[in-house]
Symmetry: C3
Subunit: 343 residues, 3 copies
């Protein structure tokens, strides 16, 4: 059971072209393509005639033609042409999914299309903000999406998993000041780590020499974790207004279930220093990519254990509070989706 009444990241804009793109979301096979007008369309990736994936077909204007017998579907998923046959059956159609392209992201609505207008994708202006330089990536992770949420919401793991990049000393993390703020739709975690050693990534890309004051802000809603972290020379404090003068890092984490055991993980890493130096942007991206590859190993190993031993007991720790709340938020949203209240 997935939360479908939600805008999820479907792709980076440059992934969607006139060459149809096959991708599965929440167990649904979807084909994404860009029509000649430039508009993005998402259809069920299965011709209603004989089940060939439409992603093996060809874009024809803003329509898509099946690669087997040439049936043409428009952006609504309605078959508008059958070669060699004048009559088009009424049930010759496939499902069409609402999509939106904004903030350098392609979003898809997998639930009831009639409810797509009830909410909007989160705003994320930083992909277009000249004060920030970023690069994007996508990992397919063989793990349940909530394992990724757990990982991002509880950053106490970075000292253990990411010692070579963004981690730093484990103690700095486990002794951090912590604030967990819950809301109906999500959770925000803030961590302050005063007077600590800069982790390797900060030294290599930003150039810290001495000790630093470091902070992290993690904002979760289903399908999306926004991370804003930063650091300043120790003693300069955590003043929110002064953030742009210090090291600032923004990580976008789009978390879209592929299936119960696998997740599309769309991420971008932006930095606010030396934004015109492409080599720095690349070097910084490489460090984050290595970091997330370490998380991927952890999450996939967890998933394998959960699959093999579905009934073994687990012990909750205090640091799980944020992740536990995130699970509750998703479960409640699924309940609302299953039993929508009359408006």
């Amino acid at each position: 059971m997935f939360l479908l009444d939600r805008w999820y990241v479907a792709a980076w804009p440059e992934e969607v072209t006139q060459q149809p793109l096959a991708r599965t979301f929440c167990d649904e096979p979807v084909v994404l393509f860009r029509g000649t007008s430039g508009s993005v369309t998402a259809l069920e990736d299965r011709c209603c005639h004989r089940n060939l994936p439409l992603s093996q077909g060809k874009v024809d204007g803003d329509c898509l033609a099946c690669g087997y017998h040439g049936m043409v579907y428009d952006a609504r998923g309605i078959c508008v042409r059958i070669p060699g046959q004048s009559m088009i059956p009424k049930n010759a159609c496939v499902r069409s999914y609402p999509v939106q392209e904004r903030d350098g992201l392609v979003w898809i609505w997998l639930g009831d299309a009639g409810r797509a207008g009830q909410s909007q994708p989160a705003s994320y202006p930083f992909h277009a903000d000249p004060r920030w330089a970023h690069r994007t990536s996508r990992y397919l992770i063989a793990g349940h999406h909530e394992l990724i949420n757990d990982n991002l919401i509880d950053l106490s793991h970075v000292g253990y998993v990411h010692g070579k990049t963004i981690g730093g000393t484990p103690a700095a993390h486990s002794e951090a000041q912590l604030e967990v703020q819950r809301s109906a739709d999500g959770v925000v975690v803030r961590r302050w780590m005063p007077d600590t050693l800069p982790p390797p990534t900060y030294q290599r890309t930003y150039g810290f020499a001495g000790r630093i004051d470091r902070w992290m802000e993690i904002a979760f809603v289903p399908g999306l974790v926004q991370i804003y972290i930063g650091a300043n020379d120790a003693g300069k404090g955590f003043d929110q207004d002064g953030r742009m003068d210090a090291l600032g890092i923004r990580i976008f984490n789009g978390i879209t279930p592929e299936s119960a055991g696998s997740t599309h993980y769309f991420w971008s890493a932006a930095h606010n220093f030396k934004v015109d130096d492409a080599a720095i942007t690349q070097a910084f991206f490489n460090e984050i990519a290595a970091t997330f590859a370490e998380d991927k190993v952890v999450i996939e190993a967890q998933q394998e254990r959960f699959d093999r031993f579905p009934n073994r007991a687990n012990v909750a720790l205090q640091s799980d509070a944020g992740g536990v709340h995130a699970r509750r938020v998703i479960a409640e949203a699924i309940r609302r989706q299953e039993s929508p209240v009359a408006a």
Copy 2:
């Protein structure tokens, strides 16, 4: 449930040697081998002692010796020797399958051996006819055999799937004159495409320059689709008697289920022009091999979708008539097999 009371192609003759050959037909593991007398034998590929595949054994005269403890089986599947033991248990035997080698094909009967004499494999003289040059091949296709039947019976797909080889313009196919002739045991489809452009394969191998009159004849019975296609300069017509003076192509398609989701596809491609030019035969074969590789991609993608979404609706088109009849023919033959009428 497979149609077993049927002669199926098991192998090309040159595949069956004194090196035992393991092959699964209709979920049955079979070992094929050629005894020193030259005769072909097909046995259950599982030693009755401890289940080692007999295909890991060695041919011994016209018998087969298991590779584990040396038990020897004759062509009837009866164990005739147990090393180190004088008494041979009565139940020390494996199933033997009727086989026939004819027309450059090895055929096997997978049903009740007592009914094997009730029918004969189809005759196919063209592998030995000097007016035709051919080459043979075999694909293992990860798809249900009826998806292959569909593909071969409804050639309206060639304009979409095979544009680079035998296809030609899609419209020429969807506007073709069509005749579907059904019988109790199969279906014959005839297509005429007057005054059309020659597809790339015809240009490259036969050398057509101008427009052509083109025809196709597809004859299906369970396990076998014979295709006879040809073309002449436009205006010369479709005279059956004159066929041998124009471009003629014969495709043999032996379709033997391996399992519910995979099929042995034995095919040969013969042509009636420049039959003494080995380079032409090879070039022609390469074009057909590329064409069938395209079909393989389509069929395997369909199978994956049918497996993942077994309950989603499909829409039938007019061009499915031949394939629908082929399904009915197979279903009725399976019913007869399950409830044979007293003779």
Copy 3:
């Protein structure tokens, strides 16, 4: 259902280091590690917090720290530290397995720890005996452990499977004098093959030129098959006392189930001739390794057939007597394990 109340080989000592080692025994995920004191510990390979395999963690003294959030487990499997949290929940622990390191082997007890003291691993002094030179290896075999027992207990197969190494002529084996001696806990099989041709391995490593008297002694208990084989010039007889003057070979076969369909196979091959010639030890090892690789192919092919055709009949031969008894011994030990008699 596995026989768990038994000491099984878990690893060769050199495999267990401060780099944790993941291994599954009888469907249980186990991490083995060597603490800084040198002691070997075996724990459930699954952090009780969020299921990360502890084998992805780090050894910390004689404890093991999880690689995700740093929880530290001692050799009893009890969590003794949770970073960032002072209170350790009572149920924060993982299972610990009794282990013993002796005779150049690491043994593990997978059953009820309270019964581990009731028996001891078999003694195997030959890994430390200067009159014997040996090398060790490990194969993971995709087959049920009883198929390996069968293979080792009934050596009549060596003439068919191992003709290129230790086999020799099939007839020599099937005509061997045979003695099968059963006990409550196992079976011992003795074979004598007087006046036979030396197999290739004996010729290449020992240098036999003429015919030989050859004998084999195979001692099975659950989890372990000890093989002692030898040969002398024909006519010199099988005198037990004189064995050390002739060719002697000892094969240790530790057979530890990984799952119902796969088995850890720990083996060593020792010889009593030219024990100071490392090249001979290596050459001899290579021959045995090739031999066991042949057995692996056989056993994995059997397993595949048993999996595919679980209900097809098998025929027992006289030579199965030892293997049949071994199955009975294991079945009875499992019954005792399930219904332990009050002491």
